[in-house]
């Protein structure tokens, strides 16, 4: 069943159709929320808010963009609101280093595998540094970078999700990457400082 047809049925209070829609998008929405939220352990609650909003607003969707874009837009807005409301509790990126989350579960990380565990751990640490640097970016830059880099959304889709022009997406993404570079530089050990040849 197509997304548009699903949404029409949901607007008619068809919970079976809603279940299909949730099954189709839940992992993507949850993944996006996990990356966008300052407190990823709340991703499931925010994802539930997203689907609740989808259910409530299914009748008002104008079908002027893809359903996935619309759901992503709701998710991004919800995450931004959540981060804004919970800013007083500190940013996730400022937590002590380590691969555990606040609950110590290590949720969200993949254990190293392969022939060289040390190299895999090192790669995971680098990923962790990148993730922390991204988490410390301003909300809009963070959302844009995550949508483009980690979620693989095109400039056009990001423009629709964020409600801005494609040119703005390009320039803001460029700014986000420059900003990220500045934040990343001090995170990596200065292995070569003072090295003489």
């Amino acid at each position: 069943m197509e997304d548009g047809e699903l949404l029409r049925r949901i607007a008619a209070k068809d919970l079976g159709a809603f279940k299909i829609l949730v099954d189709r998008f839940q992992s993507r929405v949850l993944g996006l929320c996990s990356r966008l939220l300052s407190h990823p352990q709340n991703a499931e609650d925010v994802a539930q808010d997203v689907f609740f909003q989808v259910y409530k607003s299914s009748g008002t969707f104008r079908h002027d963009c893809r359903i996935s874009t619309w759901i992503y837009r709701i998710a991004v807005n919800r995450c931004r609101n959540f981060n804004r409301d919970n800013r007083k509790f500190g940013r996730w990126g400022e937590l002590p280093r380590g691969l555990e989350n606040e609950d110590g579960s290590g949720r969200g990380f993949v254990a190293p595998d392969g022939d060289d565990p040390a190299a895999a751990w090192s790669l995971n640490e680098t990923r962790e540094l990148i993730r922390k640097a991204v988490a410390s970016l301003p909300e809009k830059q963070k959302a844009m970078l995550i949508l483009h880099k980690f979620e693989g959304r095109s400039y056009k889709e990001i423009a629709e999700i964020m409600g801005i022009s494609v040119a703005s997406v390009e320039s803001r993404l460029h700014r986000a990457k420059l900003n990220l570079q500045e934040k990343l530089a001090p995170l990596f050990p200065d292995v070569c400082r003072g090295r003489k040849f």
């Binding site: 949730v22 992992s27 994802a47 539930q48 993949v110 254990a111 680098t126 990457k177 070569c192 090295r195």
Partner: protein, 189 residues
């Protein structure tokens, strides 16, 4: 010994196409590596460009000659191109049942209470505000026409305030503060 160079551009003004700006690697007088610092502060740009081609000739030369930077860029590029997959992107089994519970709770409220009350509140709120506003204007106009004024207070506020100081119970906290204030005033005089 491997040669080490420094780049002649600032970290903040990195250009994705350094050839066009004539960026070149020069030997540092002290022999220390500034190119390494440059590499570290441009990891994203370097990871996103083809460092093996002609786009970054200076950078690639340095990466070939500096094993630390080469390793760092290689590792960063791998992490950048393959960000950590979320191992737990599936929600808990109670995700959908809880969602349905929430929707059903909303639906129960909607027809009887929430629907009617919400609509009534939305309609009546501006009506009530407009009524109060227009009523005030009309009352003021009528009073002005009849030459009436607002009833004056029997006793001016300042007088009542001064009187209230006379009735402060002795030994109370207020009494203590008033006495202290008076003694300070007398000392000054």
């Amino acid at each position: 010994m491997l040669p080490c160079f420094r780049m002649s551009v600032g970290a903040a003004s990195f250009d994705p196409n350094p050839v066009s700006k004539g960026i070149e690697m020069k030997k540092d007088k002290s022999g220390k590596s500034r190119a390494c610092a440059f590499i570290r502060s441009h990891l994203v740009s370097i990871a996103e460009k083809d460092t093996t081609g002609a786009t970054f000739p200076g950078v690639q030369d340095h990466l070939d000659s500096c094993p630390e930077c080469g390793s760092l860029v290689q590792q960063f590029s791998m992490a950048w191109e393959n960000p950590a997959p979320l191992a737990d992107a599936q929600p808990s089994p109670s995700f959908f049942p809880r969602l349905i519970e929430r929707i059903e709770a909303e639906e129960e409220l909607r027809p009887g209470q929430r629907g009617v009350l919400t609509i009534a509140w939305r309609v009546l709120r501006p009506v009530a505000a407009a009524t109060v506003f227009l009523g005030g204007i009309l009352a003021g106009y009528e009073m002005g026409k009849a030459g009436k004024t607002l009833p004056a207070l029997k006793e001016p506020f300042a007088d009542r305030l001064v009187d209230s100081f006379k009735n402060i119970p002795g030994g109370s906290v207020a009494d203590f503060y008033v006495n202290r204030q008076n003694s300070t005033k007398e000392d000054l005089e």
